[in-house]
């Protein structure tokens, strides 16, 4: 389904979808919203992108991380080398990519890993209660408010996990379906 209008519109819509999904995620504890709905809204962005551009392009755009690096010099100390490598990957990346000595490696974020991270976050949020002798999933809240996010606590970790899980599952389903 390649239409120019949708393909152009989706570029503007993707950040809006993602921001709105994050807003829904953090709104969720006392109002309608939460991890599941937020995850679905966030996944819409990627689904539309896949529909217009194909799965390969979506993976290239959103789910690939380029890491830059170069071999260690003979006399360079290890800590200096590590700091350089970190700087190469954080600061002025585009310029470094054109540098002849720098090699780059691509890491593809598989949707399975997103699913696993989500599950890990969600389950671990419940373990905090167990560690202090309370039942599983006992909630701990802080005393202060953060302006937009609200009051942080372990249930946010759970919602974040659900959010990632839903996005991962929808991405996986979308990629499998569009490849067939």
């Amino acid at each position: 389904m390649k239409t120019v209008i949708l393909a152009t519109a989706i570029r503007i819509l993707i950040p809006i979808f993602i921001i709105f999904s994050v807003y829904t995620l953090f709104r969720g504890h006392n109002h309608p919203g939460g991890g599941f709905i937020g995850g679905l809204i966030g996944a819409i962005a990627f689904v539309f992108h896949t529909m217009t551009h194909g799965p390969q392009h979506t993976v290239d755009t959103f789910l690939k991380v380029n890491l830059y690096g170069y071999p260690r010099q003979p006399n360079q100390s290890r800590s200096l080398y590590l700091m350089r490598m970190m700087r190469v990957n954080v600061w002025r990346r585009r310029k470094m990519a054109r540098h002849p000595e720098v090699k780059h490696r691509m890491i593809r974020i598989e949707s399975v890993y997103i699913i696993a991270t989500g599950l890990l976050l969600a389950v671990t949020s419940g373990v905090f209660g167990l560690l202090s002798g309370q039942p599983f999933m006992h909630a701990y809240w802080t005393d202060f408010y953060i302006p937009i996010l609200g009051k942080p606590g372990t249930p946010i970790l759970f919602d974040l996990g659900v959010y990632l899980l839903v996005i991962g599952v929808v991405l996986k389903i979308t990629f499998v379906m569009s490849e067939e």
């Binding site: 696993a116 389950v123 419940g126 167990l130 002798g133 599983f136």
Partner: protein
């Protein structure tokens, strides 16, 4: 501490599944994680059993929301015994899968799904909430669907479709039943339901009607007459490591839920339910065993025997005395171990000789005497020859039946026992005893490596056989524990007080 112990049988497989998902590309790592998780699970479930045995029924409220509003997890003796048995069979299945399952299937998420299946089993056994029970059965259903269809060969897909269609129907009935119960009584917490059902204002007829929905739903899940037809159609299609776990464990989880609900909640109209259950138990036994007698395939015989053994468990519930329910519990534990082991043995045989058909097999007694001994133990446990484990279960059931003068069902069960011996002897004669039929000698050439793998496959079978021998030869503590569990089931005050903290 008890908060931790009750949740551990669910947390360990869940964390195992997450770690296996992270090592998606490295099958070796998944295998190691799986074995470690199973070992932890085994330890945790034994600790849970000792704790429950010492302190009585243990409960925890997820998220500190008090019962009956929050989700309750309850561990009594029956559920912790189920959890232990699932941990033991899980360990055996993992040991078997490493060498006994092809690499392609292992690398497509077999280990995480199996781990989540175990999570579902623990969840269904430990939950104290009707809706939660439904959710755990959904988890089981989805995992089984994936496992049966994993690999995507034609018979597998056919079996998976049959399995899923019928079980979706069961889920529908279950959900309807839950809706009706909630509509009548306004609660889903099992302990509170048990209280509400026993108050004089409840409507016994309506509650019995809701109970019939559960009878059909768990009847399909546990494969009782006349709803068992999906089981022999689907259980023999997937590879043996998968079908052994599903066949050993899943119908018994259905049976567990059956016993739990019909001793705790749906007890108001026993003039109707008990004769009904008795008839169903009798037919389940007889039809299952006749189905098995007519089959000529190793796995199909075993599949039909699952149905007939379910009849015995139902018979214990139908007799409804403490001894009968203890017999039922003992029989469930024994049957999970024995049935899984028989399936695994058929897998070892098929790994060596490449077929499950009785006609093409033969002479294994000469080639693999150790395997023959293991089969002998398991098969005669299943048939109920003393001193093996099946005997004690059947003995308790028969004694309980004679005590309340239900002669017909006891006679039926004893006759079914005889036919079980007949089919086990048939397997013994055809597979182990008779001479190997003439076939192309090139078919049976194995490399050294394959022979080594085949020897490794004996390990899980021997592991399970140790437990089978233990509960058979040293039956007294297990039987005593089953009787305690039955006492806990029948004195629902204990359960109610433990959950509602009265």
């Amino acid at each position: 501490m008890n908060h931790l112990l009750i949740v551990l049988p669910m947390l360990i497989p869940l964390y195992g599944a997450i770690l296996s998902l992270f090592s998606w590309r490295y099958v070796r790592a998944q295998q190691i994680i799986g074995i470690l998780a199973q070992a932890c699970m085994l330890i945790a479930s034994f600790m849970l059993l000792f704790d429950v045995n010492e302190h009585g029924i243990r409960t925890t409220q997820i998220g500190s929301w008090p019962a009956p509003f929050g989700i309750t997890l309850v561990a009594d003796l029956f559920s912790s015994m189920m959890v232990i048995t699932s941990a033991i069979t899980g360990m055996a299945i993992y040991l078997f899968s490493i060498k006994g399952l092809d690499k392609a299937r292992q690398s497509f998420g077999y280990y995480p799904v199996l781990m989540i299946l175990q999570l579902g089993v623990s969840g269904a056994c430990l939950t104290g909430d009707l809706f939660n029970l439904f959710v755990w059965f959904e988890v089981l259903l989805i995992c089984c669907f994936v496992l049966i269809a994993l690999g995507g060969t034609k018979p597998q897909l056919e079996g998976a479709i049959k399995y899923v269609t019928i079980n979706f129907l069961a889920t529908g009935f279950l959900l309807t039943g839950i809706g009706v119960v909630y509509g009548i009584l306004g609660s889903l917490n099992l302990a509170e339901l048990a209280v509400l059902v026993r108050t004089p204002v409840s409507h016994p007829a309506l509650i019995t009607m809701a109970g019939m929905f559960f009878l059909i739903a768990f009847g399909i899940k546990a494969a009782i007459f006349p709803l068992f037809f999906w089981l022999p159609a689907s259980y023999h299609t997937p590879p043996i490591a998968i079908s052994a776990f599903i066949a050993g464990m899943l119908t018994k989880v259905g049976m567990y839920a059956f016993i739990r609900l019909f001793t705790l909640v749906f007890v108001t109209d026993q003039e109707l339910t008990i004769p009904l259950l008795t008839v169903l138990a009798g037919f389940t036994m007889v039809l299952g065993v006749f189905g098995a007698a007519s089959q000529n395939d190793f796995r199909k015989i075993l599949s039909f025997h699952i149905v007939s053994q379910i009849g015995y468990m139902l018979m214990g519930l139908a007799l409804y005395t403490p001894l009968a329910i203890a017999g039922s519990i003992y029989f469930i534990l024994h049957n999970i171990l024995v049935k899984t082991n028989l399936f695994l043995i058929s897998g070892v045989v098929a790994h060596r000789h490449g077929t499950f058909a009785l006609k093409k097999l033969g002479g294994i007694y000469l080639q693999q005497p150790f395997l023959s001994v293991l089969f002998f133990i398991s098969a005669f446990s299943l048939a109920g020859i003393p001193p093996f484990s099946g005997f004690w279960g059947k003995f308790m059931l028969a004694k309980a039946g004679f005590e309340i003068d239900s002669f017909v069902i006891v006679l039926v069960s004893l006759a079914v026992s005889l036919i079980t011996i007949f089919s086990m002897t048939k397997i013994w004669n055809e597979v182990f005893w008779k001479n190997k039929p003439e076939s192309d000698p090139l078919l049976n050439v194995m490399t050294e490596r394959e022979k080594h793998n085949n020897r490794l496959l004996h390990l899980p079978v021997a592991f399970l056989a140790v437990f089978i021998l233990f509960i058979g030869l040293y039956a007294e503590p297990v039987v005593a524990m089953a009787q305690l569990a039955a006492e806990q089931l029948l004195n629902s005050e204990l359960y109610i007080n433990a959950v509602l903290k009265r």
